[in-house]
């Protein structure tokens, strides 16, 4: 079901009329952030593998050619198919998918990012075109062109893949560390923001590691291959896992340039985030150390089950790090500028003065908000300000949070959300708007609790 807003009242001068001047996409109990997380994590894993492949494979191919290593060359040809079937299909499509999902859930965010960085996105598109074409040529023309040229095509693929990471990483890092952009609004200040380099190193390490782990998996799935052949290929690929051991110093660098409140959230402020981060850090470091001592130095091998286990741990660690990166931005989507509900700080002030319905045309078509009941108006305010993160009964549900609260508690807590929960945006609106929201949230209380609360109130 889609809410149908209609323009109501005058849009305050200087107020960007795009905010919430949209229908609302309702995902029901699933929750918008869940959908973004699922699509984004799948895409990040596949895209980072594509980047790692682009660096690892031409390098290994050149090395194999120099040493006339036919075992490794045969493997790499097989490994390239993995890129085509896995990365070029699911990777490319989930990349488009993220764009679609964010456009549906948070159009203000994507509109801001596209307008600020349109030439960055366009440059990435050029890299992307080169990446796809060079990738296909690299795969389809294996053994059909001279080896040196083939390696060069692979290097072009690697540069294009890493180049697209370079561009997109700047834009993603901007969301957490916009730096001087907050005052200059300059493309370069935004893109070359304080977090861009540590983020790039972290993602590059992660990309190389995924390529190395997938080498171990693919080496194990060809039936009939001798143990020695498998060991040789896995040992050759294990060098790309070693940089994982650098996760700790690079993470320290990353936190050093991140906003202090965001860093505090990860380092103890939010238990879930701390756990995710610690898991990601410890798992990555251990895999890196194991790769160095076990695979590279002592030339050990791993069976398919072990390779899959290591890959699963790495994938969970990658997902955990991405979750942390997304989570530590809260309550913002662009730190210090735009809140998670799509409101900028300036818009918050406007709404506080003029009221939610004077500036937000989020009302059912043809209905005057003055004729709605407080509960109905409160429902619209909830959907407009809270619905990006909260569902009623599904993911991050609001009902369990408020069902035991009295209206006074709801009112007091909502008034100072940003103080009680640092990762939540402050409530925007007048006292009348707040009362409408309280009226709506009070209806979410269970009958049992409502009766209990009523009895207590009657007793008083």
């Amino acid at each position: 079901m889609v809410l149908r807003p209609v323009r109501h009242g005058a849009v305050t001068a200087g107020f960007w009329p795009g905010h919430m001047d949209y229908p609302i996409f309702d995902l029901g109990p699933f929750g918008p952030s869940t959908l973004i997380a699922v699509v984004a994590i799948i895409h990040v894993v596949i895209a980072q593998f594509a980047v790692g492949f682009g660096i690892a494979t031409p390098w290994l191919e050149a090395r194999a050619l120099r040493r006339n290593d036919t075992i490794l060359l045969d493997f790499l040809r097989r490994y390239a198919r993995f890129l085509i079937l896995f990365s070029f299909v699911a990777g490319a499509i989930t990349g488009v998918g993220i764009w679609f999902v964010v456009g549906l859930i948070s159009p203000e965010t994507i509109a801001l990012l596209l307008r600020q960085f349109v030439w960055g996105w366009a440059t990435e598109w050029v890299f992307f075109i080169v990446e796809i074409l060079s990738g296909y040529i690299y795969y389809f023309y294996w053994d059909r062109m001279d080896p040196k040229t083939h390696v060069r095509i692979g290097v072009i693929y690697g540069i294009a893949a890493w180049g697209s990471l370079l561009i997109i990483n700047g834009i993603l890092a901007f969301m957490l560390t916009p730096g001087d952009w907050l005052t200059t609004r300059s493309f370069w200040d935004g893109w070359l923001n304080p977090g861009v380099w540590p983020s790039l190193v972290l993602r590059t390490i992660s990309s190389l590691a995924l390529a190395g782990l997938f080498i171990a998996v693919v080496a194990n799935i060809k039936p009939g291959d001798e143990v020695e052949k498998r060991r040789h290929v896995i040992n050759e690929g294990s060098i790309f896992l070693v940089p994982l051991a650098l996760m700790l110093p690079v993470s320290i660098w990353f936190f050093a340039v991140s906003p202090a409140p965001a860093t505090r959230l990860v380092l103890g402020g939010a238990v879930a985030m701390t756990m995710f981060f610690m898991f990601g850090l410890v798992a990555s470091t251990l895999i890196g150390l194991y790769a160095y001592w076990g695979l590279l130095k002592n030339r050990r091998s791993v069976h398919l089950e072990t390779a899959l286990l290591l890959t699963a741990i790495a994938l969970i660690a990658t997902g955990a790090m991405e979750y942390m990166r997304e989570g530590m931005r809260k309550p913002y989507v662009v730190y210090g500028y735009m809140y998670a509900n799509g409101l900028t700080q300036a818009q918050m002030q406007t709404i506080n003065q003029s009221g939610f319905f004077a500036t937000q045309p989020v009302i059912a078509q043809g209905i005057n908000p003055d004729r709605l009941s407080p509960v109905e108006r409160g429902r619209l305010i909830f959907r407009g300000q809270c619905g990006r993160c909260h569902t009623i009964d599904g993911y991050n549900a609001i009902r369990p949070l408020v069902e035991s609260w009295t209206p006074e508690m709801i009112r007091d807590n909502t008034r100072q959300l940003q103080r009680l929960r640092g990762f939540m945006p402050p409530f925007a609106g007048t006292d009348a708007d707040l009362e409408d929201l309280v009226a709506y949230l009070s209806t979410l209380r269970s009958a049992q609790w409502s009766a209990t609360v009523s009895q207590r109130e009657a007793g008083q």
């Binding site: 307008r115 598109w125 050029v126 296909y136 053994d143």
Partner: protein
């Protein structure tokens, strides 16, 4: 000091419109390759004497699919920069069907691969191979339909208006589909002989020309165009595209009696027809956007803050990228080795 408006347009409207048009034509071009590969594959699956090289045809198909998606990213980018407000509203309005495009893409792409796997396994046409191919075709159609639906929805004066009917979206798809067929004929006349063992131009090229001409001419005659220069030029280009395609069809039909030196004329006719059709669609779409959206959320009334430095970065990347692509294609054109690679 108040910081500049972060939501100002990053370039003049005309530049963004030009880039949108350019990249949309490119997107349609690669869509033509995909459509050509699909009907050629159908010819291989259902034809009585299939003479296609399955591997080359498969490569054309997956390259067409990949490049259609990749090339389609850029026009989507420029449309969102120019008309984001109406675009996001219409996307939200059709919500889940819009989101389903991701599934259509995944299913369609993998169905294309599966049809190829089945061909290898069965040693030729098979019932399941046909099924996978039909599935891929259906997915391509569903994607086109959903985009058309979103585009029409975005032209409504009120972004949160009721959903427009499926019939309207289907009707609009005839223009888009017609140009895609004409573009597919262009690919087939230029490169189709490479997909066949006998080196002949696929006979499907003439039928694609005819079908494309029919759809485009009907679309040009029954659909609405704005009365301004853009709209009328768009109509003229679409009519030209349809008529050239009919000429192309006639030449291909008569190609048995046409001398070899006449064949380049067939190719150029089909190429110009495809370009005219794609450009006609661009002008028609843009003229309607300007006509309908300027009063509500048109880009033409928004402040502009040109980002020269980043634009130069993009332009340089584009030039270098094109040079790299040219170099790679030159390497591909060198005589191939002896080994073959299949899945």
């Amino acid at each position: 000091m108040t910081p500049p408006d972060p939501m100002a347009l990053p370039a003049p409207v005309e530049l963004l419109q030009f880039l949108f048009g350019l990249t949309f034509v490119l997107h349609i071009g690669f869509l033509g390759l995909l459509v050509a590969a699909l009907w050629a594959k159908a010819g291989a699956e259902w034809g009585r004497r299939p003479s296609y090289d399955p591997e080359r045809l498969h490569r054309a198909g997956v390259l067409g699919f990949s490049m259609t998606i990749t090339a389609g990213v850029a026009p989507l980018l420029f449309v969102q920069v120019l008309y984001g407000k109406s675009f996001y509203s219409s996307s939200i309005k059709i919500g889940f069907p819009w989101l389903a495009i991701i599934a259509y893409l995944l299913i369609g792409f993998y169905a294309l691969y599966l049809s190829r796997f089945r061909w290898d396994k069965a040693g030729g046409p098979s019932a399941s191979g046909k099924g996978y191919l039909i599935l891929a075709m259906l997915m391509v159609f569903a994607i086109g339909f959903t985009y058309s639906w979103n585009h029409l929805q975005s032209l409504t004066a009120r972004p949160w208006a009721d959903r427009i009917s499926h019939a309207l979206a289907a009707r609009r798809l005839s223009g888009y589909g017609g140009v895609a067929f004409i573009a597919s004929a262009a690919w087939a006349t230029w490169f189709g002989r490479l997909w066949r063992r006998d080196g002949a131009t696929p006979s499907g090229a003439k039928w694609a020309s005819l079908a494309g001409a029919a759809f485009v001419l009907i679309w040009a005659l029954v659909s609405d165009f704005t009365s301004d220069g853009w709209g009328q030029n768009g109509k003229r280009l679409l009519l030209t595209s349809g008529l050239l395609s009919i000429i192309g069809f006639a030449l291909l039909w008569a190609r048995q009696s046409v001398t070899a030196r006449f064949i380049p004329w067939v190719r150029w006719t089909s190429l110009v027809a495809a370009l005219a059709g794609a450009l006609g669609l661009v002008l028609q779409r843009e003229s309607w956007r300007l006509h309908t959206l300027s009063a509500n959320s048109g880009a033409s009334v928004e402040p502009v803050r040109m980002q020269w430095g980043p634009f130069v970065m993009f332009a340089l990347a584009l030039v270098v990228g094109l040079l790299v692509l040219a170099w790679m294609l030159m390497q591909v054109r060198r005589p191939p080795g002896t080994s073959s690679q299949t899945y």
